[in-house]
């Protein structure tokens, strides 16, 4: 039976018995108030309503199920100072659709669905191979220095990675930015992507209408800019190296003459005579 967080206002505690009710419906749970231990094992846990600021008892040790934060939740999780709801035991899925000022997470999560208008901050975390982060249109997620997501799909939100960067990123729309390296593939199919400082990028593909900004001195191992795609180096703090790549007609590849780029191999020209 699912467990519902039933504190509706004020300051709340996640891993506290008085905060949860086990019931078949949210309405029943709210009537009951509290009747069960906090989520554990493979429980399905829901935070669906209210404006509670859940800032105490943030360690979910033993909880390995799924947490759903619904769009009716306008409160916060964690603290403004950075404390986060911790998943040390590894949970299957966290879906965030809330609208509050912030939610902070950390730990091990196989899948995040960040859909809500309220920003999500993901602190020091372990992302297992194959774990995914799906960011819906209009959503907002920021990864801390200690969080390096495996696979990120941005469907139109705003995604910001810290100095740990990310492995594979597909940016369908919206904005992706990273202070750290992209060690797999950055596929910019739409929207904007930018890497900063010394971030390296293994592979970057820039599609029609998409824009990639290499504001970094880190090496790009391979870059391919498709028709109407744009790769720029606005704000690059110094010279950088491009190991290989392809460019298509109507694409733009690093046209800024003020930045010195070393191409260690010729750039292939696709679709050109």
């Amino acid at each position: 039976m699912p467990k519902y967080f039933t504190r509706l206002s004020g300051t709340g505690a996640f891993a506290a018995s008085g905060s949860w009710a086990s019931a078949t419906t949210l309405a029943s749970a709210l009537t009951i108030g509290s009747n069960c231990a906090p989520p554990t094992s493979n429980d399905e846990a829901y935070i669906l309503v209210g404006k509670c600021n859940i800032s105490n008892s943030l360690n979910t040790s033993g909880f390995t199920g799924a947490l759903t934060i619904g769009p009716g939740f306008a409160g916060t999780i964690g603290t403004a100072a950075g404390s986060a709801l911790d998943f040390p035991s590894g949970v299957l899925k966290v879906q965030h659709s809330g609208t509050g000022a912030f939610v902070n997470f950390k730990g091990t999560v196989s899948r995040y669905d960040i859909l809500g208008t309220g920003p999500a901050y993901i602190k020091t975390s372990t992302f297992l191979s194959g774990s995914t982060v799906y960011v819906g249109p209009g959503a907002n997620v920021e990864f801390d220095t200690g969080a390096k997501p495996e696979k990120v799909y941005n469907a139109g939100g705003f995604v910001s990675c810290g100095t740990s960067g990310a492995v594979d990123v597909t940016n369908h729309d919206g904005t992706f930015e990273s202070q750290g390296p992209i060690t797999g593939t950055l596929d910019v199919r739409g929207g904007d992507a930018v890497v900063y400082n010394t971030a390296t990028v293994s592979n970057v593909y820039v599609g029609n209408g998409a824009r990639y900004n290499h504001a970094s001195v880190g090496t790009i191992s391979f870059v391919e800019v498709y028709p109407n795609g744009t790769a720029v180096d606005r704000g690059a703090p110094g010279p950088f190296t491009v190991t290989g790549g392809n460019i298509w007609p109507n694409a733009s590849l690093f046209q800024n003459p003020q930045v010195t780029i070393t191409y260690t191999n010729p750039i292939g020209r696709r679709g050109m005579p």
Partner: protein, 276 residues
């Protein structure tokens, strides 16, 4: 701005027995009025159709633990409308627009924008099925991962098919596709950009003004037939149709079907290719 929470003692939208100002507070509050933030988050009682066209809410949130159906609510929302439903929701804009509609339904639920002259300014579909009936205008549609199907109405000004499946019978002024798109009936497009990862099936007789198939994109036709999604069936029309301007890139495929009957007003520009 006051809150209104649906409590669901019966099916009547206007009955004060169904509304409270907090999730667990006493019922007896007036039905939602303009500038209210409205939450429909729990309960299993269906909500009967109601025309609240003159009401312009500040926000409307339908949560996944509300398991009833919304059988036809007509209301404007100035802020954000979130539909995170597990059962069917029928909704339409009121006198004013629904400014920002976000749909992420689950469990086979269908969100239906029912017939009417209303306008949804911007709609984002993340998951689930969204059906647009004739008459309802969506200015900018962004399908990020759901099934979108329309059965008529005004062409989208901008249709961004970034994920999931998009099925249209009307078309768009501008189509930007990186995912599956099926156009049927009279679907017409002023501009269609078919990018990597997209298969665009023009099983329609509407004109395509300018189509560009980029590397990795596929534009194809298909036999006439029916396509069903979200409880709505649309009938595909066979060719011929007209393409005014077209560009096919190396690695792209522009209507290479053997049986396609297409009139090209101008010769196709082929980039990076030799011959036809």
């Amino acid at each position: 701005m006051a809150d209104r929470y649906w409590r669901g003692t019966n099916s009547t939208w206007t009955d004060t027995a169904n509304w409270s100002t907090t999730p667990t507070g006493s019922t007896g509050s007036a039905a939602p009025a303009s500038t209210n933030d409205v939450y429909i988050l729990s309960g299993d009682v269906d909500i009967d159709a109601y025309d609240a066209s003159a009401v312009d809410l500040n926000s409307l949130t339908i949560g996944g633990q509300f398991t009833g159906k919304i059988k036809g609510l007509k209301v404007a929302v100035s802020g954000t409308t979130i539909i995170n439903c597990v059962n069917d929701v029928n909704i339409a804009p009121g006198t004013n627009n629904i400014d920002d509609l976000r749909v992420y339904s689950t469990g086979g639920a269908t969100v239906r924008l029912f017939a009417g002259a209303g306008v949804v300014t911007a709609c984002q579909l993340a998951s689930g099925t969204l059906v647009r009936e004739s008459g309802c205008t969506i200015t900018t549609m962004h399908n990020a991962g759901g099934t979108l199907i329309d059965s008529g109405g005004t062409a989208y000004t901008t249709l961004n098919a970034k994920g999931g499946v998009t099925i249209t019978q009307i078309g768009a002024t501008t189509l930007n596709a990186t995912a599956r798109v099926i156009a049927t009936g009279a679907s017409a497009f002023t501009t269609a950009n078919i990018d990597r990862g997209s298969t665009f099936t023009h099983n329609a007789y509407g004109t395509i003004g300018t189509i560009t198939v980029f590397p990795g994109g596929i534009a194809t036709t298909a036999p006439a037939g029916t396509i069903t999604a979200g409880g709505t069936t649309v009938t595909g029309a066979s060719q011929p149709f007209t393409v005014t301007n077209s560009t096919e890139w190396l690695g792209g495929s522009l209507f290479r079907d053997a049986n396609a009957s297409i009139t090209y007003s101008n010769a196709t520009t082929r980039i990076g290719k030799t011959g036809a």
